[in-house]
Amino acid sequence: MKGPAAVLAQALAERSILVVCGAGGVGKTTAAAALAVQAAVSGRRVLVCTIDPSRRLATSLGLQKLPDRPRRLDLRTAAPGAAGEAWAMTLDTKRTFDALVERHAKSDEARDRILQNRFYQKVSAALAGSHEYMAMEKLLELSADERFDLVVLDTPPTRHALDFLEAPGRLMGFLDTSVLRWFLKPYFVAGRLTLKVATRTGAMAMKLVDKYLGLQFLQDLSEFFLAFEGMYDGFKERAAAVHALLRDPATGFVLVASPARVAVDEALYFHQRLREAEMPFVATIVNRVHGAGGTAPRRGRRAGKGARADVDAALARALLEAHEDLSRLARAEEKVIERLEDQTDEPLLRLPELEGDVHDLRGLVVVADMMFGGAPAANAPRRKAR
């Protein structure tokens, strides 16, 4: 093993958290699950955790539905020699949020007030950034779980990888009752309406809210914030712990991209942001590269003894066309990948486009083998389409 694969293998062996990030649709979930399988094969007790409104990990692990608590995967068939353990779970945003409220509520009464608030019930899972925030919350909890040496976190399927870093901050800003207190509380003291707010801008904003959002909504909202009062300090503490955890040298970020211009532009931007935020970077994985494996056109070697006579003219034409189409695609992709490689100056692993889909443990083992030099790409899964 050499180059980027060695860097990744070392991270799998040494680190305790790997955050797998990238824009939606680049194969993040598959990459995260394959990394976890590889870690388990080489002896670690690893958990892969995904926040997953569409249950994609469940699909890639061949499970219909994953419970929202860690469940051990059966590696006996797919990777009989595995020395460690692989676990998987999906994150239930609403339940994590409930647990957070339970932990930080000052009293049972305060807790019930929040959990029963209509606004909270409707929107806790839909709050902008709550998926991302709860992922971080869960990560904090799992990092202390004795059952696992390594947690691989598959980040939410945001269109922009960046949302994942920024959304928790936005949610914290939203729940920051110290700001909202003076904004809303004077308005609803003991259910009595008063337009006395601290500043003229506040009054202006209030009128706006009243006129365009409506009074009932405002009342629910106000109750929601009043209920959250006093919990913010607890939240802030957790956020600080997450902040430290993400910058810990035992944590690592793996960036996944696909070999298309848009995806690479995003990956570059995301990498820059990680660097600015001083998050420990491990490597980039470029997924689904044409020409990185079995279909790679090998050029420049001298001609052998021609087997041309064996191939009839029509087939030769079709073969050449197939080869040329894939080579053209491979050349175009390579140009974009090189740009990513040069501009990030980080280890970059090319993962070939498979001949088949990856949607079970066996497929993940194949992907892991391709990453870490087990079997050649030609052995990609060739399951019969059922």
Binding site: K122, V123, M204, L213, L215, S258, P297, G304
Partner: protein, 344 residues
């Protein structure tokens, strides 16, 4: 005359069998006769590209079309597909009668505030206040509702003396599934959370637009791969059951067509098994060409498999669009896809 006969035939078929059996030309006309098309599917399946091709097909039919993306500013893929610089929050004409706009939720919110608070200095004070930013930027669903409200306004917009709609058709490239569904679920949640008052009223109007099959149709986009197809099916189920939208078509992007005859496929396998080596014309290694062929044969089989699976699972017309062997997609490719949409 021929066209009329064709249309009549389509109607007769519709009465006899299911919608999936209707002639596609009729169905495409019918689809493009909506006021709003909402495209959705897993991230990376090519929603923007499919939306752009649909918009071009509509524009060719003489319609005035607006392509809407919901995104942060630097992306705006649709404009790039049409060879233009990225569009922003202002509608811009990219081809005659084909306009595009990129609705960045925070900007839509700001515009709304400016619209509501007429006095400029007051609007600025609101927009500059930290409360506005902290609260409105993260307020659950509010940005989504604002964006959907804006789309509703665009659908309502009239132009000229005849009070003709400003746009015949709006094509919405909805955010990726998961988030895409929560995007479309927002109006319902808003109606439930704030049943009375202006926010509820606004959400109800948005909902009635989304649910009106005369005006709005959902277009499911997928690629022939397990996860994309699973997600497309899941999305379709949730959008119809939970949002009450009606889907009218499935676009299957990145399909591989048959390149080799059965006999040639067998020959490829035989040559592979024999470990045949040598060179083809231009010095191309036979081994590499065989590997390329196997890859493409396999992809073609997957295409057929997932086509069948989608057809079985959804009683909807399905159009397969070709995989493009290019890293960069430009106006030529969009036109090609629009041709294929029309000829399907």
């Amino acid at each position: 005359m021929a066209q009329k006969a064709h249309a009549g035939e389509g109607v007769a078929t519709a009465e006899a069998t299911t919608t999936a059996m209707l002639g596609w030309a009729v169905l495409l006309d019918d689809l493009l006769a909506r006021r709003l098309l909402v495209l959705s599917g897993k991230g990376g399946v090519g929603k923007s590209l499919m939306g752009t091709a649909l918009a071009v097909a509509a524009q060719r039919r003489g319609k005035r079309v607006l392509l809407v993306e919901v995104d942060t500013p630097p992306v705006a893929e649709a404009s790039r597909f049409l060879g233009a610089s990225p569009v922003g929050g202002e509608e811009r004409e990219l081809r005659p009668n084909l306009l595009a706009v990129n609705l960045d939720p925070p900007r839509v919110m700001d515009d709304y505030v400016r619209h509501v608070v007429r006095a400029d200095f007051l609007a600025r004070r609101v927009l500059d206040s930290p409360i506005y930013h902290r609260f409105f930027a993260a307020a659950p669903g509010l940005p989504e509702l604002m964006v959907l409200g804006k789309i509703m306004t665009l659908e309502d917009a009239r132009a000229g003396w005849g009070r003709k709609p400003r746009y015949d058709l709006i094509v919405l490239d909805a955010p990726a599934t998961g988030h895409g569904l929560s995007f479309l679920k927002v109006p319902q949640t808003a109606v439930e959370t704030a049943p009375v008052g202006p926010i509820g009223a606004n959400a109800r109007r948005v909902l009635s637009l989304l649910r009106d099959p005369e005006r709005t149709a959902l277009v499911v986009v997928a690629v022939p791969e397990e996860m994309a197809v699973v997600e497309a099916l899941e999305f379709h189920r949730q959008a119809t059951e939970q949002v009450g939208m009606s889907a009218r078509a499935v676009l299957l992007n990145a399909c591989h067509e048959r390149r080799f005859s059965k006999a040639q496929e067998a020959e490829v396998l035989r040559l592979t098994a024999e470990g045949a080596s040598g060179r083809l014309a231009g010095g191309v290694e036979l081994e590499a060409a065989l590997a390329a062929a196997r890859h493409l044969v396999r992809r073609e089989r997957m295409t057929r498999f997932y086509e069948r699976r989608l057809r079985r699972a959804l009683d909807l017309p399905l159009v397969s669009l070709p995989f493009l062997f290019k890293e960069e997609v430009g106006p030529d490719e969009v036109d090609l896809l629009a041709d294929r949409l029309e000829a399907a």
